[in-house]
Symmetry: C2
Subunit: 460 residues, 2 copies
């Protein structure tokens, strides 16, 4: 006998939780599709040589290698032929390069799949987790206008997910680069080091950061450090304020000015797209992966739960697939790590787990002789698009109600001998705690009305 | 520069095909949910000790093992700790055993995920493929009534998939066992060997089979062989005929009689569930995995494409999870191998690849100055639930139309200066090849009506 257990570092859900998780996945997908993004799925494994092109190598990214029984027996030297994807970006790069001549650019794609990382074992760290990505890929060039569209998608997704107020924080890597260069920090790596220190502002305080940056390792002037601290402290409040803060930056290098112009265009279009100004702001401390992003960068925070950190991040990059093609493929995209987000929301008590089931109606069975009648009622409900479960074996009615209630099924339909004779059924609405009788022919349409109302109220 | 390519043995789709594939997945899921099945997802890898319990071992099932960079470096003796699932049945067994006390039985679950097998490289053989499974698991016992429900699900799924007429073929392992025992073939393995010979009937003819079974290896009597050939040739036509053929079998051993009684009950309930009699038949040659199934067995064939083989198979089993728990968990279930089915339908020309896109409308851009107007139109369409793409950069209108047409987008919305001034937009319906003008406020609702009509016509 083997003890049944999942490997460490995975999130496996019970059906009720899985339904809640699936609803979130569906909402994300629906909104991605609403903005015209097309679905892509790639294999869970890629050739190792495809996956491990970037510097840094497999160790840093904690890759999982895959070997068939046969390959394992052969023992071979070198790395195994296959490895599990550790993100959806490398597979996208490979996909776009491989199918370049069959795709139309700009190429809007969404991809919702699981990725794999051999993380150290730790609470809240996952070795398998969902990423929900969108990217727009251009050929040779891609207008900054798409950066605004991406922001509108973030807004649509999190509005409909309904997990609380959120703010999409915007910055621009060109603006940052231009600014740091003006402070004498010209080297990209050096900028990263300075930013890492600045990131400690909340935890260690301004004095600590000032001391470090003016100290031996960095040797910056006190005025320079203050200018940096002022810069990264910028947070806009509202649309007009955001534009005013860009104006207040004045003029600088070409890179600096271009960063400002891009942010201004993004802000203009975000407004035209109808995104409410409470949902976005400038935050000049947002940096993201410094070696990868080159323009707009996004982070999204739940206003009530800043400790959760960014729930949706991304930005603009210069060239997606330089390892696989000579074509220049600039892009902009974001990623939602849904497994971690779901886990965090559950930890914060924001996922009730007592949501309605995907099963909407249950036909109770009062005695075995009425099974054919139950099946016929269920058939009518299903034909009307109502998810319906039938009690296939007679047992105490109280038990059947208890089951429906625990399972989160809203409607219990009863048809005893008397009701069958009168051509009616009794419906118990466990949500509204009401009971009513309805003609058998009208059952499906009346439940449908109730369910449509509930859907409309929930904004789904 | 690395040549971008997928590993051999996977099916990667272009977006248009992916949309068609996704529609099939959605249809299957919708119908599984309609019958009250609950979603379960399990991790892609299981502990090797969990996965490799059954006799036969890993070699036969061509398992893929998974090792993190760290584990690989350690080289360890013995098998790697993790392996990719090769079906959804073993993970279900582990899941139900692990969560036994948190689940309610009978437990109806659906699971739609990819599985992995290190198959030999061959056209039409996949190393990664989707399985779409449902199972009902009972505790201690499970009524044969659920076997009828499963058949009704198969019928609902393939009716809505709309890939042509199909027949669900039914048999019962108890009936077969009882029959073969009466012919003196009492041993299960021997029954399997006889059936394997009988399976050659179509290819080699009756004389060949008769010769083999009466020959040295089997030593059966000529009359016995003829009785077997008569038995496996049974195919019912219609409901009444199916019942008549069961009657014609007469009485036999307890096992034999029980098989008949089960088939009769399944047929009765299938009728009560409203499944049309043209959709199912008895076929006494259907055997399925002989060491696993113990009662009802199903295979489903496309009437017009018998060469594709069974597109949905399954049956009743005695005990799901004996390796992980002492509880007895009988069940009944089916599996649809969608990757292979999609591939076969495409090969047979049954997947057009010219279906409508998931993008329903495209807002064209006549000149850059009207972008804000385009974005506003798109916002209204999206708010009404219409998947809408915006042309973000001005280019020749002919190019924009060509793009929409190739992409399978039905509606192109145009709003030039003149239209904007008059508060209207022009719509080109590329499906009906019509053009009309509509007030800006009425655009979303009028496109919605058209799309609902199309959906109703398509029976979705």
């Amino acid at each position: 006998m083997i003890k049944p257990r999942t490997p460490p570092g995975v999130m496996e859900l019970l059906p009720r939780e899985q339904i809640a998780f699936q609803r979130m996945l569906d909402t994300i997908r629906r909104n991605y599709e609403r903005f015209g993004f097309l679905p892509v799925e790639t294999p869970v494994f890629e050739l190792s040589e495809t996956l491990l092109t970037k510097s840094g190598g497999e160790t840093e990214r904690q890759v999982y290698f895959v070997q068939s029984t046969g390959a394992l027996a052969k023992e071979g030297e070198g790395l195994p032929e296959l490895a599990l994807r550790f993100d959806l970006t490398v597979p996208l790069a490979r996909y776009v390069a491989e199918h370049e001549h069959e795709l139309t650019f700009p190429f809007r794609r969404y991809q919702i799949q699981r990725v794999y990382r051999g993380e150290r074992q730790q609470r809240g760290r996952f070795r398998e987790f969902y990423q929900c990505d969108i990217d727009v890929i251009g050929k040779d060039a891609l207008s900054v206008r798409f950066d605004a569209e991406i922001l509108a998608v973030i807004h649509a997704v999190f509005s409909e997910l309904g997990i609380g107020d959120f703010t999409i924080q915007l910055n621009n890597r060109k603006l940052m680069r231009g600014f740091f260069e003006a402070q004498g920090v010209t080297d990209g790596e050096q900028q990263a080091l300075v930013l890492r220190e600045v990131d400690k502002l909340d935890k260690r305080g301004a004095d600590y950061v000032r001391e470090t940056l003016t100290g031996e390792g960095f040797g910056m002037s006190a005025e320079g450090v203050d200018r940096i601290l002022d810069f990264v402290a910028v947070r806009s409040t509202g649309h007009a304020d955001a534009l005013a803060r860009l104006d207040a930056l004045g003029q600088g290098s070409d890179t600096f000015n271009q960063g400002i112009a891009e942010l201004r265009e993004v802000l203009d279009l975000v407004k035209a797209l109808g995104v409410p100004e409470s949902a976005y702001c400038l935050n000049f401390s947002i940096a993201r992966g410094l070696d990868y992003y080159t323009g707009t960068v996004y982070e999204t925070q739940l206003d009530g739960y800043p400790q959760i950190g960014s729930i949706c991040s991304g930005g603009r990059y210069e060239d997606l697939a330089s390892h696989y093609t000579k074509s220049k493929l600039p892009g902009v995209g974001i990623s939602i790590g849904l497994t971690r987000l779901f886990w965090q929301l559950r930890e914060a008590g924001l996922i009730a787990g007592s949501d309605e089931s995907s099963v909407q109606a249950m036909v109770a069975l009062m005695d075995d002789g009425q099974l054919a009648g139950s099946l016929d009622i269920a058939r009518r409900l299903r034909a009307a698009g109502i998810n319906t479960e039938v009690q296939m074996e007679g047992r105490k009615l109280a038990k059947q109600f208890q089951y429906a209630s625990r399972a989160g099924i809203r409607f219990v339909v009863l048809a005893g001998e008397d009701e069958l004779a009168r051509g009616v059924v009794t419906v118990k609405d466990l949500l509204r705690e009401q009971q009513f009788e309805v003609k058998r022919e009208e059952l499906a349409s009346s439940l449908k009305v109730e369910l449509e109302q509930a859907r409309a109220l929930a904004g789904r």
